[in-house]
Symmetry: C2
Subunit: 339 residues, 2 copies
């Protein structure tokens, strides 16, 4: 099996992905973006490490796809339109050509799915398992959409379904007593959601027009909502029974009700959490603005769900059970090298 | 000794470095650059791995400084003005507060030296020794300055001195028979050059006005000049005796003449290699344009040296000894996971 050194890896396998003229076909040290987006640029970076963010025996193309997707998810949550990314790839030894082609295949799938192209990067020697770091660029919306714009009274929304990736991870770790209650199809779908985030790029116009604050959910709803509340100087109440669950997650929770905690605190959702403000200026009231947001999301084909509200206060967000009692959560969410 | 989890590391140690308003004090998922540089943006990324690009027992602040400096060096070679960077930091476990403060201290020194500020990043768990990846942004020059613009007849220049970092690395690896010929001051200076690149940001106006091609030297003059020649579709001859050497490197080569190969093929110089074209349009001839480049560099206080010329042909660059005979090099330069 042929192996590729650094120069061959770049020239033969990665350069064909660099379709944007600013990348000079990866033959240079830096990309030169001469055309700037009219409202500026949103830029984000996220790294994935084998054995931390994916399994060492996962297909390298799946890991490559996920690395681009999680960065695109950050851009989507800022109402930015992704167009390019840089990639740093660290490998412990020269890869086989098969490995390199599988890896690049995942990048190519992500490029086609999200409309981005590779514009630069670096390849280095890893000490330990392989890892990759992506920096992604997007066209900015006219008004920055940040975590800190939420106000008391705003309606809280999430996209898609929550907890699938966390349950999929439990299954892969052999920690899923609930798996017996699921069909093969359902278990496969959960496992897939761990490796294949679906960044909600279609929500961009609705977010840009209506949201007061937004972020993507990567470390679990409980922790990420806490971050949004702290940044916005508010608290929140969430109706736990309103959290959108996939059929598979619903079956799992039916079999093991305590799993609701894994749904609320598990990471890797890559759905969007958004707060939509009252329309005080036009006098239409909160409902009118949130209905406009819902209509815009529906037009974009992006599933969204009301899960609660922001409120005045500095307490951590409350997750209420159907009787209105707050759930006691033993975990907060995912933090790297937590103490 | 207090240890810092991910949230404390970001909020207490890294956020104070994020002075640019687009960074939202690192409280958000992405930076929002609303003001775009007039000629666009140059963007580059380079990662450093402990045990590969620096020693595991090096001061973390020195590694942090080097990570920013090598990215700034890439921007400088493109005649771009650095202004911001993103940082991904991977640690095997929660750092001590001392470690984190030392690390951030190196970033702060680099920020002060190069006029950049931290605008975003990611912190993840490392499997194996720690590593860091930087993506740096600069104001673009009016005309992209790439590797591929060199033409036959162009004069070749390098900045500063070559080979110091390669000799410093040999000393640190205990492979330096030559060290006995050097003063303590000289050995210290070589070791320092390995960890403290001096990106040639002052050469920017001269490069923007006069150079046809440029790149920074990170993998050794021989390999990097080969890359410039391939991208430009030319060959080159270099007068090995014209290569600028520090006093320490000169003493080392005097003690051990074979070290000239380490000077030519060793990495980590982070000096700039530039080609300056003939001034055909104005009829002034090559010498006039190269003299203007030299004058501009002198005005900027940046030491530059003529080392050779580009020429028609596709052969690898030749390094000529004082008698005009080509040196035979056994190594090419540094390549990650070379075969």
């Amino acid at each position: 099996m042929r192996r590729l050194g650094e120069n061959a890896l770049i020239a033969e396998v990665l350069a064909p992905l660099a379709t944007h003229p600013c990348a000079f076909g990866l033959s240079d040290d830096a990309a030169h973006l001469s055309q700037m987006p009219p409202n500026g640029l949103v830029i984000t970076t996220d790294a994935l490490v084998a054995g931390v963010h994916f399994f060492e025996n996962d297909d390298p193309g799946d890991a490559a796809y996920k690395a681009v997707a999680v960065n695109v998810s950050d851009l989507a949550a800022k109402a930015a339109k992704p167009f390019a990314y840089l990639l740093t790839l660290a490998l412990p030894a020269a890869p086989t050509e098969d490995w390199a082609r599988a890896f690049a295949g995942g990048l190519a799938r992500a490029q086609a799915a999200f409309g981005v192209s590779l514009i630069g990067g670096d390849t280095v020697t890893a000490r330990g398992p392989w890892w990759l770091s992506v920096t992604a660029l997007g066209d900015a919306p006219a008004r920055p959409l940040v975590r800190g714009g939420g106000r008391p009274g705003d309606v809280l929304y999430v996209t898609g379904t929550l907890g699938d990736a966390a349950l999929g991870l439990k299954m892969r770790l052999g920690l899923a007593d609930f798996a017996a209650a699921l069909s093969t199809d359902e278990t496969e779908r959960l496992a897939r959601r761990y490796l294949y985030p679906e960044p909600r790029v279609s929500l961009r116009p609705a977010l840009a027009a209506h949201a007061s604050a937004a972020m993507d959910l990567s470390d679990g709803l409980a922790l990420d909502l806490t971050r949004l509340c702290i940044a916005s100087g508010v608290t929140a109440t969430v109706d736990a029974s309103a959290l959108p669950l996939s059929e598979a997650a619903r079956s799992a929770v039916a079999a093991c009700p305590a799993l609701i905690e894994a749904i609320i605190t598990g990471g890797d959702d890559y759905e969007i959490l958004a707060a939509v403000p009252p329309e005080t200026a036009s006098g239409l009231g909160t409902e009118a603005r949130s209905r406009a947001f819902e209509a815009a999301a529906r037009d974009a084909g992006c599933p969204i769900f009301r899960i609660g509200k922001l409120a005045e206060g500095a307490a951590p967000p409350s997750f209420l059970d159907p009787s209105g009692e707050p759930l006691i959560l033993s975990a907060k969410g995912f933090e790297h090298f937590a103490l």
